[in-house]
Symmetry: C2
Subunit: 395 residues, 2 copies
Amino acid sequence: MAHVLILGGDGYLGWPTAMYFSKRGYRVTVVDNYFRRNACDELDTGMLYEVPSLVQRAEIWHQATGLEIKVVIADLAQPASMRQLFDGSVGYDWALDPAFGGIPKTIIHYAEQPSAPYSQIDFERADFTIANNLRVTNNLVWAVRDFARDCHIIKLGTMGEYGTPNIDIEEGWLDIEHNGRKGRFLFPRQASSLYHTTKIMDTDLLWYAVRLWDLRVTDLMQGPVYGIETDESLVDARLNTIFNYDEIFGTIVNRFVTQAVAGYPLTVYGAGGQTRGYLNIRDTLQCVHKSEQTPAGAGELRIFNQIMETFSVNQLAEMTQRVGADRGHDVRIEPLENPRKEAEEHYYNPTYQGLIDIGVEPHYLTDEVMAGMFKIVESHRDNIRKEVIFRGVKW
Amino acid sequence: MAHVLILGGDGYLGWPTAMYFSKRGYRVTVVDNYFRRNACDELDTGMLYEVPSLVQRAEIWHQATGLEIKVVIADLAQPASMRQLFDGSVGYDWALDPAFGGIPKTIIHYAEQPSAPYSQIDFERADFTIANNLRVTNNLVWAVRDFARDCHIIKLGTMGEYGTPNIDIEEGWLDIEHNGRKGRFLFPRQASSLYHTTKIMDTDLLWYAVRLWDLRVTDLMQGPVYGIETDESLVDARLNTIFNYDEIFGTIVNRFVTQAVAGYPLTVYGAGGQTRGYLNIRDTLQCVHKSEQTPAGAGELRIFNQIMETFSVNQLAEMTQRVGADRGHDVRIEPLENPRKEAEEHYYNPTYQGLIDIGVEPHYLTDEVMAGMFKIVESHRDNIRKEVIFRGVKW
């Protein structure tokens, strides 16, 4: 089977993606520098449960399934760390077979600082976010250019690149007519955090590399993801993904469910009309897999809007309150002065049909699905540290 | 008079800008890390004449005029190097008065790796270009946010951000109507080199910082600059700006004149129909000065297209041939297989009215102006090294 290289394989999406492909017979290599874990320690963000190291997870996965996920611990912002993955000089931190796994057919690029609040804390975190995210993406496109030009790069972007424009959001591109002449351009982008701005820059860079070297790239404009378990993690609870419930690394649905279980009022910023597209972590895996099965053409930057449905913050808070009440939680909603600079009421009409067209079957956020999340979070209730939930990072 | 801080004050535009403002009574501080000189040494690019160090130039300028230009040698990609310029902890490498020059009223940001071919040489130069250009800009906006929010940032962008679209190029912005709704967005950008792509990313970053922190920013989309002398350099030839005639750091008119003098055929890439906007180095100084005199408002990203006229490569080659012939040079034109990936014939209709509207009076590239450049280059004819002119960096 084909070799899949997953950059950022220790993260919230990285590890479940690795298991998903491994289970389906792919040869899988994961690379990570433990940024997420280190930042969680540094900022004392708390986690719902302990997560074994990437090497330990590969070992547990092997014991549970007999399958191999090769592990490399490396900082991909360093060009040499990226290039070793292609020129065969890499040494594995865990592998059944220490021989080079070969040039990948597909690269899934999650290896970025993924938090908007983290990027806004101070100038040092901003500098890290810019340098890390852009250098990793640039090192990747040069390595593919130099060693593996036919490789398919699947890159995680974000719906946040578009911001909340006053016009309908298309999937990545827009036909523009101006003074009687026509052109097709990247859909205009303007984000609401430094982190999201680095994702715009990534898109600029990928579009350049695709035009210059005829690379194959799929750029997934993903919305906030929620969820914990995936089919692959069910064999051993130690394989569950990293789950943050704090303001820095916790995504909103995960945070709200945890806050509800902990008896911590739901933190709605400002008017709560902020509307975004959401998806279940199971659908992230589906989207990436379907993209892998139908790769972008040579010289194609294919862009999909990776969301399954939209909610406002108020809608999510009300759903959390309703589902929580059914399970005996007294869930309060507490509007806070918005620490972010963003529109609290706005037009929002994104298109998201492309991934459905290549075969993704959405899981929607129903009361039942949210109740399933409640159940898991409740089982870890004693681990929840209320004091790390809200920090008030100002934009 | 107001304090002006010039980042990248040792470069082709930086030093003439420093003298221009100093001569007009401004207090001027220049900062540079000697990237350009070091890269010229490393790549053996040759220079038309030796240029004293930045410290020596400040000393010569002081002797010639009695004026002070404070000098700091520092790498602004390091956050601490940027912040010392605002918090008063900086030590000057040259100054009459070693006391802190104070928070600047205006910052002119040229401190970037400025060469498209340099950014395309290999993955290490690409990595340097990305990391340097983005980190400097990011460090700047955070320092201004933290220490000097009312400062006016004048940032050098490039017309290359727009590429060569099939629609008329506006000054930075475009009103878009889509499905019956309207919005105003950054004009779509898609560049033809990695360097130019970093300038797009800079614009993304500045637009974010302006929206978030109400910064004042003027972003100048400049075309290729030509010229050597400025009024301020006339007092001492050692004050002439750095002049490269090689493919990496030499701009096209400067290169063509030098090639003509050296009897080296003019290197026209491909069909030669590549059309760009150009300006005289004297007009760069005017544009920056007029922008300083009419600063952007708080929360405004003001964008000007900084060109005075357009030429195709063939037109420039023919002008060089004609002017050279008048001065007794036998100038041959030699079309080469294009080492770059770019459109060789294309629509090109940019607007460039904003700088005229605030008072810039263009110097055009006439035969007489080019003859003046020939005269200076001829006086350094013995320094020209033919072997460094063309290197053939492939895109």
